[in-house]
């Protein structure tokens, strides 16, 4: 997009000067300067832990800075709480929405403004409709928030901030939860808002999006502002600023030739399962994954991927159908039986798959405690040797005795990878392998997945990152409302066609 548009009086809408924040030994922000003009989308780019979110939490009053100043419209302000931030005209939409799900959109908007004990629902509904029209953000004031899609809920969050007369809007990784079509809708909304003179801070670590929407990009690395560049800066240049070195994407070697009658290592047949409220979540899904092959599952979150992975990992009983690994049935089996059949499991919720309060070395043996138990109890020497070896092999930045909960997201994922891949499973189910990881860690994880493919493992990959899915997978299967609605070699899958299938628009042959 074009260059920055400063305010009529030349003053930026918000200016941060010398923001410094320490957490113990860690410097999250080190003298960061940032300004955002009216009518500007200013992207904040950086790896995980670079300090983007900390900086914006300081601006929104969720965290207090150790040093530095904030100016809004040229006037210094003191922000001690979100209340102060809102009063100064700053709004923030986080990835985790603060909406009351059983209430309607109008009621949620009213909650943000309610004064006193009385609530005039008719006025609330009118306000919601007015705000919705004024900003061109289409939402039904009477819809229950719990019934809305994630993209719609995000719109309600944005409306909530706008309804409080915010002039600076902070969006923390707003696209992390959206499908491609919803991203386009969000960007259209943002363009309308900047046309109205709003200043927008857009936190992301996706280069493509940053270039698509922002006027300027500020890059943070380890708490330090590396630089501010125009929004149309070359992707490679931005990546270099972000990680301090050029990144090279992994690429998938040529597929291994398969005989037509070669049996699949991981065979899912007619599988159905119920979801959280007993409603069908997986419906009659059949997928075959052969040795040395990666099959990707595409789909918007909530279309049965989670439940499918839970069934395959032994954490949920299917209601119908079967799944086998090397001929051994695993559907409905216990996690221990699933592992014994040769399946390695790396689910999306890595925090819930490890015991965060126990050290790395114990988590690394958790799937096979019996192998590390001798007549005198646990063999601590063997456990330590195992940990030292895996930490070196998987380049985990941790000591064996560190509690897993103290590690960064990338290192937590590496602990899980190490635990699973060290057993050289012949089939692997892996979901959202790089979600929340920085570029370096993501590349590492993808490289490991491809290495297992080269070693002949059958891999079922679930990911919401389409670029990742298309890069890694030999074939892509699209899930919509729990059903397989499309399957194609990844060469023939372009993001647009996948996006349509994922949104349930087209039933492909």
């Amino acid at each position: 997009m074009g260059s920055a548009t400063p305010g009529a009086d030349g003053l930026p809408a918000v200016r941060l000067t010398g923001i410094t924040k320490r957490f113990g030994d860690l410097v999250a922000n080190d003298g960061v300067d940032l300004d955002v003009g009216r009518g500007e989308v200013h992207a904040l780019l950086g790896e995980n832990g670079a300090g983007k979110t900390t900086l914006m939490r300081i601006l929104y009053g969720l965290t207090s800075a150790d040093a530095g100043a904030v100016e809004v419209d040229g006037r210094p302000v003191t922000i001690r709480s979100p209340k102060d931030a809102i009063a100064a005209g700053i709004g923030m939409v986080t990835q985790h929405f603060s909406l009351v799900r059983p209430m309607t959109v109008a009621e949620n908007l009213a909650l943000g403004r309610a004064r006193g004990a009385r609530l005039d629902l008719e006025a609330a509904r009118r306000h919601a409709r007015e705000a919705s029209e004024r900003y061109g953000i289409a939402v039904d004031p009477d819809a229950r928030v719990g019934d809305l899609s994630v993209g719609e809920q995000q719109r309600v969050e944005i409306l909530k901030a706008l309804a409080r007369d915010c002039r600076v809007l902070i969006l923390d990784e707003p696209t992390a939860v959206l499908v491609p079509q919803e991203v386009d809708a969000l960007f259209a909304t943002l363009r309308r808002l900047i046309a109205d003179g709003l200043a927008i801070v857009f936190i992301s670590h996706k280069l493509g999006e940053v270039r698509a929407i922002s006027h300027r990009v500020s890059v943070l690395r380890r708490g330090v502002l590396v630089g501010t560049a125009p929004g149309d800066t070359d992707e490679k240049e931005l990546a270099r600023m972000m990680v301090g070195r050029p990144t090279f994407g992994v690429s998938r070697p040529d597929p291994i030739a398969h005989a037509a009658d070669e049996p699949a290592v991981l065979q899912v047949t007619g599988l159905s399962a119920a979801g959280a409220h007993g409603l069908p979540a997986v419906r009659d899904v059949s997928i075959a994954v052969r040795a040395g092959e990666i099959v990707g599952i595409a789909g918007v979150s909530g279309n049965g991927q989670t439940e499918l992975v839970e069934v395959l990992t032994g954490m949920r009983r299917p209601t119908a159908g079967s799944a086998t690994v090397g001929g051994t049935p695993i559907a409905g089996a216990s996690p221990a039986a699933v592992m014994a059949a040769g399946l390695g499991r790396i689910p999306e919720d890595r925090h819930a798959s490890l015991v965060l309060d126990l050290p790395v070395e114990l988590n690394l043996v958790m799937e096979r405690i019996a192998d590390f138990t001798g007549p005198g109890g646990l063999d601590h020497a063997a456990i330590r040797r195992n940990a030292v070896e895996l930490i070196a092999r998987f380049r985990i930045k941790a000591r064996p005795e560190d509690r897993v909960g103290t590690l960064s997201g990338g290192n937590i994922q590496k602990v899980l990878l190490a635990r699973v891949l060290a057993r050289e499973p012949r089939a692997i189910v892996i979901a959202q392998p790089t979600r929340g990881l920085d570029v370096g860690a993501s590349e590492y994880v993808r490289g490991e997945i491809l290495a297992r493919r080269a070693a002949g493992a059958a891999i079922l990959l679930v990911s919401e990152d389409l670029d990742e899915l298309l890069t890694l997978s030999d074939r892509v299967v699209v899930l919509y409302e729990g059903r397989v609605v499309g399957e194609m070699p990844s060469e023939k899958a372009d993001p647009e066609r996948l996006g349509l299938l994922m949104a349930g628009r087209e039933v492909a042959a």
Binding site: F23, G24, A28, N48, G49, A50, G51, K52, T53, T54, M56, R57, L62, T63, T94, Q95, H96, D172, E173, A176, I203, A274, E310, T313, G314, M315, R316, R317, G332, A333, S334, P335, A336, M339, R345, P347, D349, H351, A352, S353, L354, V355, L356, D357, L358, L362, M366, E367, R368, I369, A370, F372, T373, G376, G377, L378, G405, S408, G409, G436
Partner: protein
Amino acid sequence: MSTPAPLPKVGSRGSALRSTIAASGSTLGLGLLAILVALILTSPVIIIAGASPIDAYANFFLVPLSSQFRLLEVLVAATPLILTGIAVAVAFRGGYWNIGAEGQLLLGAIAATGVGISIPADWPPIVVVPLMILAGALAGAAWALVPALLRTRLGIDEVVTTLLLNPVALLFVKALVQGPWRDPGGITESPPIVEAGHLPQLMDKSRLHLGFLLALVLLVIAWWVLSRTGIGLRIRAVGLAPHAARFAGIRVERTLLGVALASGAIAGIAGVSEVAGIQFRLTSGISAGYGYTGIVVAMLGGLSMPGVLLSALFLGDLRVGTNKAESALDIPSQIGAVVQGVILLCVVGLLAIRRWRISRSDRPADEAEPPAEDERHLENAPA
């Protein structure tokens, strides 16, 4: 990633308080601070009771340590507390919230008495004592079985069921001593148990008995199992993160059931120790709330076995001291229970504050953990 500070999740089993306790590992410093705060908070009660807090605390804590006889009495008072403390700590470490040690202790006492009054008087102690201990352990485990099955099979909260079985157990004791086991002498106590069932005294002129050594042995075993064995690792994993434990192939329900029964058995042995070491018969006052005090012992000791020993000795000291203070300062011995209760509240309060501060400020926002949702998959997971 950019997660806001975790919100406490309120649920039947996944409550913030319980996850705080399971992951507590409270330190000596935290325990001492809790005691100090509790003493300050209890001072007004002592002043109302008509004594100076300084005098009272000197009587509570220092006087019992002033002679060998009193010191040994502290060990006598600590014996049931070590046992119930182990019972509670083992259960809590596994994430099983056994509040029923009191009832399990009473059932152990009933079983020991049953053996002790019905066994032929000429059987040797080497047979009778182990038999009583075995019977008490089995009875304690049996009393723990129903709540444990309700929890592991039907997901019914064990806090309520174990707690509610405590008065039932006491009524059971009362029914026995007023009915079938009523002493022919007419008082509402059981007849005395056979001589061979008496736990041997460890020293002359002291009530200190074999139960104290038994408690220490069980303490060491519990420590070894929890920290040095595969079973212990499974128990800790289940207590800290049941979902992750299940995912790693650990049979969570079986582990919980085992922990619940072991906890009940150890509490039952506490009942055996009181019958066979102190009272030599069943009375309705056989337990002075030892099962409940075990919760304080376990929490104050940070659920660790060395901690359990230290806090049981401390609370044994307090128990002896409050009895002394009753005669010396004319203040009711119930003040001791008040101090104990306030200590428990202070430990839990300090743990919660510490946890809150960690989650709020000691971690950069980018690394904040997602809200704990440890048990959201339990309902659909294979048993």
